[in-house]
């Protein structure tokens, strides 16, 4: 990033110049599939506490783009969550304003 002096001189025309250099983090930590990384092959529907990390506060499934789960395991997570819901181990819906 150009120093303040350089920016003040206007070395490059057309480029946006700031009084103080902006410090925005652009390279975020890459998401990864935790099942592939830790070698989990089977997702147990009986372990409701673990499955809770894949649903939001309302009890809806979180998308892959948020959790980073690979497609193969996202399908398995979905099946496990649905089984857990059937057995009342997990809620179908949670009303937040109750």
């Amino acid at each position: 990033m150009a120093s303040i002096q350089e920016q003040a001189k206007g070395k490059k025309d057309g480029e946006i110049r700031y009084l103080t250099p902006l410090n925005i983090e652009t390279s975020k930590a890459k998401k990864y599939c935790r099942f592939q990384r830790s070698g989990i092959k089977y997702i147990d529907y009986k372990d409701a506490d673990f499955l809770l990390s894949f649903v939001n506060e309302q009890g809806k499934l979180l998308p892959r783009r948020l959790t980073g789960t690979s497609l193969k395991f996202q399908r398995k997570v979905a099946v496990a969550v649905k089984r857990a819901r059937h057995l009342a181990l997990m809620p179908y819906v949670t009303d937040l304003y109750k």
Partner: protein, 115 residues
Amino acid sequence: MNHYETVFILNPVLSEEQIKETVKKYEDILVSKGAKMISKEDWGLKKFAYAIQHKKSGFYHMFEYTAPGESINPMEVEFRRDERIMRYLTVKLDKHAIAWAEKRRNRNSKQKAKA
């Protein structure tokens, strides 16, 4: 022979005697159809995540067994007819699931030994 796992929920109003009797009944049905029991688990009275038949808790029981595929349907018909059973779920286990179930069983038995 396939590997299966069945979880079923019993009505919470039942007495201990009735529960034992019901569990025994389904075990007998399975065995008479040629199943081989691997493990039986009693999870006890658990709270539901939502109300089922206006009840907030139930007795969870789990069977793990190997059985011929034709034996599952008669058992599930019995489940549906039985008023004591509130919910049931039968799952066929693949090879990863079998490995996991074994690990889980060992862990549970170890915990029991400690307690």
